[in-house]
Structure formats: C-alpha cells, structure tokens
C-alpha cells in the first residue's frame, strides 16, 4: 500500500479514537454487572401491552386526533400550496415568481418539528399547533411540486380558451387543471401519508395526538401503555398506506 493511501487511513483512525476519548463513551458498562438483565427487564415491559378498555379508549381518541391533524394539515397545505404555486409558476410575472419561490423555500426549509415547537409557543399546547405546523411545512413542499407540475403542463389548451374569449379563471379550469390534477392529487396523498407519520411524532413537543400520549407514557416509564401506543401508530400508518394506495389506483391512473 502506498503512503498516499496510508496517511488518510491513519488520520481517519485517529479521528475515531479521538471521538471516543472526547465523548467518554463507556462501552464496557453496556455488558458489565446486571446491565443486560436491566435491559431485558425494560424491553420485556413492552411485551405486555396494556389492552384495558380505558387505555384503548384514550388511544382511540389520540389516533383520531392524529388522523384529523394530518388530514386538516394536508388539506390546508394543498390549498395554500396551490395558491402559492400559481405565482411560483410565473403566472403573475417575474417579481411574484421570485418572491413566492423564496417564501416556499423558507416554509420548506424549516422542518415540521421546529414549526411545531414554534406553533406550540404561538397557539398553545394541543392539536392546533400540530395542524398548523404540518400545514406550513407541507405548503412549502406541495407549493414547489405544484408549481413544477404547472410549468410542465402544455399551455395550448388554456391559450385556446383565452383566444375564444374565455376569462383567465375558466381558461385555467378547462385548459390547465385537467392536465395537472392527477399529479396534484398524487402529491397530496403522498404528503398525507408522510404527515400521518409526522403527526405521531409532533406530540413530543406538545402538539397533541398519539405522540403526546407516547411521550407521557415513556416519561413515566409506563412501558405497557407505551407499547400499545406504538402498536396503534403502526396500525394507523398501515391503514393509511392501504387507503392511499387504493385511492391512487381509483382516481389517479
């Protein structure tokens, strides 16, 4: 092996060793004493989920809240995204194009969790904050995707309506929308799937739904209750995946 290869390798090795020393990670304690037994005990707590009626009812309410948060959040985002996509696709001139692109980028650049933390401060604890957080981030994503779909759709059908005297609004609805709406629906459904998963997590910063229940249970070391919440999340995500797959086949193909 040549020296040119050895030097980076040695530097990499030194960096790894230095990282362990700097962080003071004690790998030995993972297996020392009764650590393994303690881990087993903690994990086994999750193997007996709490299926009591009261807890299941609470989970049902939480799941509904998560579902509603993601649905309303995605719907608001789709409407806001479409409203922003029109100027972002250059329909209202160059200044509007750059201004809305900047706004969309800003909305998209801030992750949902950060929006949720901000919205909890602004709108208080609970599902309101989660819905707003999802709506704002997703509006940035969908606005960008919608704008690209609008740019790539042929202009001629809408131009033909304009040339036979139709207004801008009807020209858009008759000429442009039929070409793009399958894409708009597909993008929105996909983001809804994402948002259901995200809505389950947003509760960790206090934004309602199943996530908040999971956070509470875990903080109180109620492994049994936490396990039920995780199972419920899993079921919810699977159900929504199936539903949106069916919807896509039904309406988008």
């Amino acid at each position: 092996m040549r020296a040119g290869n050895l030097i980076p390798l040695a530097a990499l090795l030194a960096a790894v060793v230095a990282s362990f020393l700097y962080l003071g990670i004690d790998l030995a304690s993972l297996v020392a004493g009764d650590s393994l037994a303690q881990m087993g005990q903690y994990a086994s707590g999750f193997l007996q989920p709490d299926f009591s009626t009261a807890h299941l009812q609470a989970i049902g309410r939480g799941a509904l809240e998560t579902l509603a948060m993601s649905a309303i959040g995605t719907l608001l985002a789709a409407l806001l995204g479409l409203a922003l996509a029109l100027p972002a696709a250059g329909r209202f001139g160059g200044v509007a194009l750059h201004a809305t692109r900047l706004l969309l980028n800003a909305l998209r650049a801030i992750p949902e969790l950060v929006w949720a933390a901000l919205m909890v401060l602004a709108a208080g604890l609970g599902p309101n904050a989660g819905t707003l957080a999802l709506a704002l981030h997703t509006a940035g994503v969908l606005g960008r995707l919608f704008a690209e779909a609008l740019e790539n759709t042929p202009r001629e059908p809408a131009d033909a309506i304009r040339e036979s005297g139709g207004g801008r609004m009807v020209a858009f609805c008759y000429g442009t929308l039929p070409g793009v709406w399958p894409q708009l629906v597909a993008y929105t459904l996909y983001r809804w799937e994402n948002n259901i998963r995200m809505a389950s997590v947003l509760g960790f910063v206090g934004a309602g739904g199943l996530g908040q229940m999971l956070y509470l249970s875990l903080s109180l070391f109620q492994e049994a209750q936490a396990a039920t919440v995780i199972l419920a999340m899993l079921l919810l995500v699977l159900a929504v995946d199936a539903l949106s797959g069916w919807t896509r086949q039904r309406w988008v193909s």
Binding site: P157, A160, S164, V170
Partner: protein, 266 residues
C-alpha cells in the same frame, strides 16, 4: 366587412418577416380558402386574424373593430365572436368530449356558469347535436385521449359550431383525415357556415379540396398574397407558380400499380 387588412406586415421578434403588405377584405358570410406552400405564412396570417399575434405594420379591422386599440376586456369580448379551428386541437387528454365541446361558449358564459358546467355538463344535448353533424355523436362521453387525430379535429370543429361565432378561422382543419372524410367534413363546415351566415376562412394544403368547396381562393407565397380570385378564375399556371420550388426536383419514383382501396371512415 368581417375582415379588412390594409398594408399589414408582421415581423417576428428575431427580425424575420413573416407577412408583408397584405391587403385583404372579406365580407360577412364569405367563404375563403387560403392555400400556399409550407412556410408561406398561412398559419401566421390566421393567428394574426385571431388576434394572437399583433401586426407590426398596417391597418387591421376585425368585425368593425381594431382589436389592438381595444382594452383587454373588450378584446376578449371580440374574441368570443371568433371561432378557431386548430390543426391539432389543443384539448386536454383527460377531458371528456362533451366538456371540450361546451368549452366553446366559455367566452359568452359567466364565470359561475363556466365552473358549474365543469361539474355537470349544462348543455349536453346541444354538444351532442354539434357532434352529430360530424357523425361522432357517439363519442360524447369519451375522453379526448381515446380519439384518433381525425376524430379530435372533428371535436375541434364541433366546438366551434357550438360556439356559433360570426367568423370561423380554420387552420388545416382536415389534415388528419383521409381524403373521403376530409371532403365530407369540409362540405359540412361550408354548409353550416352558409346556412348560419358565418364568415369562414380556412387554410388548406390540399388544393383540390380548396377548389372544390370554397367560392374564393387566396394563394400565399413568401408572406405575400400571390393571387386572390373567385375559384373559377384560378388558372393552373398560377397554382404551378404558387408551389414552384427550385430546390426540389420531382424525381419519379418507381411506378406503383394503382390498387383499388377501400378507405375506412375513422
């Protein structure tokens, strides 16, 4: 006058002159064919008449208005009185034929009526009647992407018949149809225009169709009007001069046995 052009010229943004010194008067109810070689300016002239291109020179009156001196909203009202038939009708592939035909009247309808029509066709029987004149009434509820090129062209014609404009501008309206169907469709279009007193201008690449169906023929070459005559006065020599091309020599290909062919109606 339906159309009055005096000394109209059009130069594209890159300086290329597409039309030069066009003088043209068309009376209401006249039916005129525009012929000429590819690239002569037939489509440009029709787009200029449709107010989608602005002339760079000359006087232009359309249905007693100068469209480029009108405010934008008044120009849209003027456009509602003009029907355009495109060579490749720009219809969204997923749109149903009934919606595409009813869209002809969008310039005359209110926005609310237009949007309502999108949810539920408000005048399906009239759309069907327009399609029936072109023998495709059975396609009423099909999607546009299920139709052939010739069928789409007939949907485009049906849309303009439903629009019932005062002036029809048709750009190669039958180019995707077989000769028999093309002749039949042009006859229908001419009959409808004559019965309802609509002015009709159509560009055609098939000279025989132009001579057979239209009382007046305009030949265009290199962006200028080469001749503008009643059909019976058009001389074969004029047609030869119109299509003469020094660069292309017609080389006779190997003789083909003429076969009796049955041309199906698409």
């Amino acid at each position: 006058m339906s159309i009055a052009l005096r000394g109209v010229g059009l130069a594209h943004a890159n300086g290329k002159v597409a039309l030069e010194n066009i003088d043209l008067e068309v009376s209401p109810g006249e039916r005129v064919a525009i012929i000429g070689p590819s690239g002569a300016g037939k489509t440009t002239l029709l787009r200029l008449l449709a107010t989608s291109l602005q002339p760079t020179r000359g006087e232009f009156d359309l249905l007693q208005h100068n469209p480029w001196r009108l405010a934008a909203s008044q120009r849209q009202r003027l456009r509602a009185r003009i029907g355009l038939i495109h060579q490749a009708p720009p219809l969204p592939p997923r749109q149903r034929v009934v919606t595409a035909v009813l869209a002809g009247k969008l310039g005359q309808w209110s926005v609310a009526k237009g949007l309502l029509n999108l949810l539920h066709p408000l005048d399906a029987s009239a759309a069907q009647a327009a399609l029936a004149r072109l023998d495709i009434a059975d396609k009423l509820y099909q999607r546009c992407d299920q139709l052939s090129g010739g069928q789409l062209q007939r949907v485009g014609i049906a849309r303009v018949l439903y629009q019932a404009p005062e002036l029809i501008l048709a750009d190669e309206p039958v180019s995707a149809m077989d000769p028999v169907l093309a002749g039949h469709t042009l006859a229908v279009l001419n009959r409808e225009a004559a019965e309802r007193g609509m002015t009709l201008l159509a560009s055609l690449h098939a000279v025989d169709l132009a001579l057979a169906h239209f009382p007046r023929v305009i030949g265009i070459r290199d962006g200028r009007i080469a001749f503008d005559l009643p059909t019976e006065q058009v001389q074969p020599a004029q047609l030869q001069a119109l299509y003469a091309n020094e660069q292309l020599q017609a080389t006779p290909s190997s003789p083909v046995q003429p076969q009796p062919t049955h041309i199906p109606r698409c």
